[in-house]
Symmetry: C2
């Protein structure tokens, strides 16, 4: 039997696949986790892959049923149905990855040549003597000029404070880190030049340690934003900041302490010290931005919701209490408005939009969802409060995407099939699972378009007059280990998805487009990237467009933060994105309420002149 | 009787003088304090003045005895001997002023057109609305650009933090203070643009509040450096900083707290708030510079005595704990070496050297004395530890120049005549009085050239085997209110003056000049400016040159600080001075010890080939 070479991307795992083996089986053998709720029986369609080179067996009936003609032409296949007939390269879209696999994606390398704000220079100085009593700093700056032609006049005060004993310890040989015209760090020769990129989300924080010279990601770490204890969404957190006398300082300190903890963690992973981190970039929404910078947040929730600063900022890390190299700066890319922050700019920066002419919708689904509609160079943006449901919040058995969370789910005649993170015993259901559940309940006609649970179904039980659908039956008599979707959960999800879909709708209306015009939908963020797009279409969260037009780009905000960290050109590009973005306030749109009601319905539809029209 | 108009400079007091009235009597009537130990009897020569325009009575015999022909030609006169014969302008040199008068000098206006680092702009902004949700800072920077053509991209983080509520309070009209490309302060419109100039001495601190727009001094304040409790001279203070675990931080905090106190004081005097002080300049010796900046001082006392930084620095005031406008900078002009600081550069900046071709000696006498010899553009500098004797330290009844201090003193056949500050009951003797005492004791032959007190003199008493000369006899039996000069005091003064004179000598030798070549001696500093130059020559502290060649310029370091505060051109000039100065380390000079011994002798002399030669 012939063996073919298979290359799984973007993970970068390579191996041999026998001609009689499915891609799914091969992937499992190589330790590449591809989502598969039905266990390879071809009933769940969750192992969708795309072949980017090479030849495969002819599509099976199951595959021709699962994909449109166009999708098959574009090489979309099911991993459980397909075998190679040549060497090939397989692209696993994010939605087909299991949670445990996704962490690799966070460490994806950036694809540009670094051009960082901070540059390193090695200098060897002469020792002071009675006949050469120049000051130590004068000596360093002269060395930079004479040995590298770098005319630098400034030195950070904290670098200055440590400079004299250090130069003596290092025998007058050192590495200077220069940012524009200022020395921001001084290390022994040789030292690494590292950067910290942070995506500071309302719920989760992602941190990346990057080598500024080659752009490589040396370490990644994620954490829950500890501020969640003071409000799950931004509005309640701002409320806390305003009403409690030291509320904002408290929130600021929580974030900074967590960032410092993450830095320690990253340094341990990469075997480095904080002294080698000579620059940082933080992207976040405008409220988190203001809290981290200790800017007042009150005005963010008062009409007209204007920020203290939208423009990009460069602030000394030590001013915020972030412990990296003594003179290092944190670069904050620009915000767009009081409710659309640098994380959205960063997401747009990282996404390869502009590849298509038609309108592109780019959205980052979170507790607050920011959505842009791009036509050529024009960007129109809005934001909506979509709530924490898609992150597992306000859902009875909702949890974050941790081990044991149900991440994929299918309802068949046999019952409920599900897949948990790390294949662990189920302990709850995370965002992508919740969305699947809503879609599957609708397809199985257990809920109707209005979202009402059919009480006649054997898996629907009523407790104290409240209906709930049992996903996982509790062991024995103990109801506590059951996992259910309640009527209230369904309502919560309807509100969340209506907020997002109606915002997309209003952006289309504001720019004169309809659903079908959309050439591409870019979905970013931890939730949006791993949902089953079919489920999202089924429930009406996203417009019913061919699957081909959807691109799930992972934590694009984090990738944008990396890009802005290593490249001055990318910082400039981010300025450009922010400056040409036109923000629309939903509160201003008179049609919003009506559209919201229409889009709270479940099903595949478009909105035309304020009315819902079913689409196939 | 005719009255003539007399204009007293630099005080600026004008009035009428009768033709039969002496200038001294007229001055007293007008409240202008001119020094006069003998009360106008023409025996003390302490009321020397210079007539800069107008005509006067012919010189009396007393005056022809007191001045050389050249000095009389140059219009030097004694105020007690002279009457006007026309309207005239009278210049009172600093040495002829009483201490109480000198405070006016501190408020002297600078004579240049201001060109400050910080410039103020009025802007009127439009109010944010749902259709114009620009960030508040974006709005301010756009306003600066649109209304003033100022392209400014940065804003201080602390200004940023307060910006949003302030703009709303001020109804979107404000004054922005811009430094290069950064907004450093924001005030209501109109606000004043003030600057703080500080001369931070080892013993005393002088602070000036200046209007940056017109260069006017709005208020002046002086204070004792509270660090004196941790060592009177720089060496012992550095010693404390090194040996005590938190010594340097303690010294730093003492200085900063005192500066903050002075700022409060200045603001109260001028009726302003710290928010209006948008820039500061601090000049000081290198050790004080390092302590204020929290730079390590240890290396300053270890060979080769190199500073952490000689180059000029611009540091955020809040980084040092100085409370002025939130984003304001402190400019530190350059130091020359570990022992010659920016105060000396500042003194050279303020002094009009370069008016004569020949070598100019410029010195600032203090606990540490810095001396420069200038020939054209060439500057050669050294420094010496002259101790606190000339500031009243280590002298039995020595005190600082406070009310009741003997500031002028003459020994005649009648006994000891003296003048105290504010004409108060004598409580001690300050630097200029101590120097007068030494000169007068020598002239009266009560001490010899070796400094030994003649025990036969009726005013010399011996207590517990220690000789002392009684300047003021104690009332009744109470010895405690006597004021004496002890044998030990004389020795202390000999060491102090030998240090200074031998340094001048070595600078001359290093540059190939002798005493007579010196075309000008510029004497700066609180002590040096108010000494009787004749006394300084009599004891051999200064070379025996015609009085005309000496110029006492007051707190020139403070004036230099003012100049650097209001003028970018002057900052550049200060850089030039520092960069073309050649520092000579006395410890390197082999002849120093011998010269020191020679110059500890009292009398008028020159040193030739290592030997003392009396001069007339």
């Amino acid at each position: 039997m012939t063996d073919y070479a298979v290359d799984f991307q973007p993970i970068g795992r390579k191996g041999e696949c026998r001609a009689d083996e499915t891609i799914l089986a091969c992937a499992r053998r190589l330790g590449v986790d591809i989502s598969s709720v039905c266990g390879g029986r071809g009933t769940c369609n969750s192992c969708r892959i795309r072949i980017t080179s090479g030849a495969l067996s002819e599509p099976t009936d199951i595959e021709t049923g699962a994909f449109t003609r166009q999708e098959l032409d574009n090489c979309w296949r099911l991993a459980c149905q397909t075998s190679p007939t040549s060497d090939c390269q397989v692209e696993i879209p994010l939605e087909s990855m299991t949670a445990s696999q996704r962490v690799y994606i966070e460490e994806l390398e950036i694809a540009i040549a670094p051009d960082p704000a901070v540059k390193a220079y090695h200098i060897q100085l002469t020792t002071p003597s009675l006949s050469d009593q120049r000051g130590d700093t004068d000596r360093v700056l002269a060395g930079l000029n004479e040995q590298h032609g770098v005319a630098c006049r400034k030195i950070d005060i904290n670098v200055l404070r440590a400079l004299s004993p250090r130069l003596r310890n290092w025998n007058w040989e050192c590495q200077t880190s220069v940012r524009h015209d200022e020395v921001v760090a001084l290390g022994p020769w040789p030292s690494r030049q590292l950067g910290l990129a942070v995506d500071l989300g309302t719920t989760t924080i992602a941190g990346y340690l990057i080598d500024l010279n080659d752009g490589q990601t040396l370490a990644y770490t994620g954490a829950v934003n500890p501020q969640v204890n003071y409000g799950e969404d931004i509005i309640s957190r701002i409320d806390y900041a305003i009403k409690s006398s030291d509320g904002e300082i408290k929130l600021h300190e929580l974030a900074v302490n967590k960032l410092n903890e993450m830095v320690t963690n990253l340094c341990a992973k990469a075997g480095t010290s904080i002294e080698e981190i000579v620059e940082a970039t933080v992207v976040c929404n405008t409220a988190m931005h203001h809290i981290l910078l200790n800017l007042p947040v009150k005005q963010l929730v008062l009409t007209p919701f204007s920020a203290t600063a939208n423009l990009s900022l460069d602030v000394k890390a030590h001013e915020l209490g972030l412990r990296i190299a003594q003179g290092a700066y944190i670069h904050f890319p620009p915000n767009i408005s009081g409710f659309v922050g640098s994380d959205h700019v960063s997401m747009l920066l990282a996404s390869n939009h502009g590849l298509t002419d038609g309108p592109v919708v780019a959205l980052d689904i979170g507790t607050n969802t920011e959505i842009s509609l791009l036509v050529g160079d024009e960007i129109t943006t809005t934001s909506c409060a979509s709530g924490p449901a898609f992150e597992g919040g306000h859902i009875k058995h909702g949890i974050r995407a941790v081990e044991g969370a149900i991440e994929r789910l299918r309802i068949t005649e046999d019952g409920v099939n599900y897949q948990t993170i790390n294949k662990a015993r189920p302990i709850g259901i995370c965002g992508s699972g919740v969305l699947d559940a809503l879609a599957q309940l609708y397809l199985a006609k257990i809920i109707d378009g209005g979202g009402r649970l059919a009480k006649g179904n054997p898996r629907v039980r009523v407790i104290e007059n409240r209906a709930e659908f049992v996903l996982v039956d509790g062991e024995g008599e103990d109801r506590k280990s059951s996992i259910v979707i309640t009527q209230k959960d369904v309502r919560e999800l309807q509100l969340a998805k209506a907020a997002i879909r109606s915002s997309i709708q209003l952006l289309l209306e504001a720019t004169g487009f309809v659903d079908e015009d959309i050439s591409e939908v870019i979905i970013a963020g931890s939730f949006g990237s791993y949902i089953d797009v079919s489920s999202a279409i089924t429930v009406g969260l996203l417009p019913a467009l061919p699957l081909d037009r959807f691109h799930q780009v992972g934590n694009a905000a984090g990738m944008g933060a990396k890009l802005a960290l290593v490249s001055l050109a990318k910082r400039k590009e981010a300025e450009g994105i922010a400056s040409r973005t036109h923000y629309i306030e939903l509160a201003n749109a008179s049609a919003f309420k009506q559209t919201f009601i229409e889009t709270s319905h479940i099903g595949r539809y478009r909105i035309k002149q304020g009315k819902r029209e079913a689409v196939t």
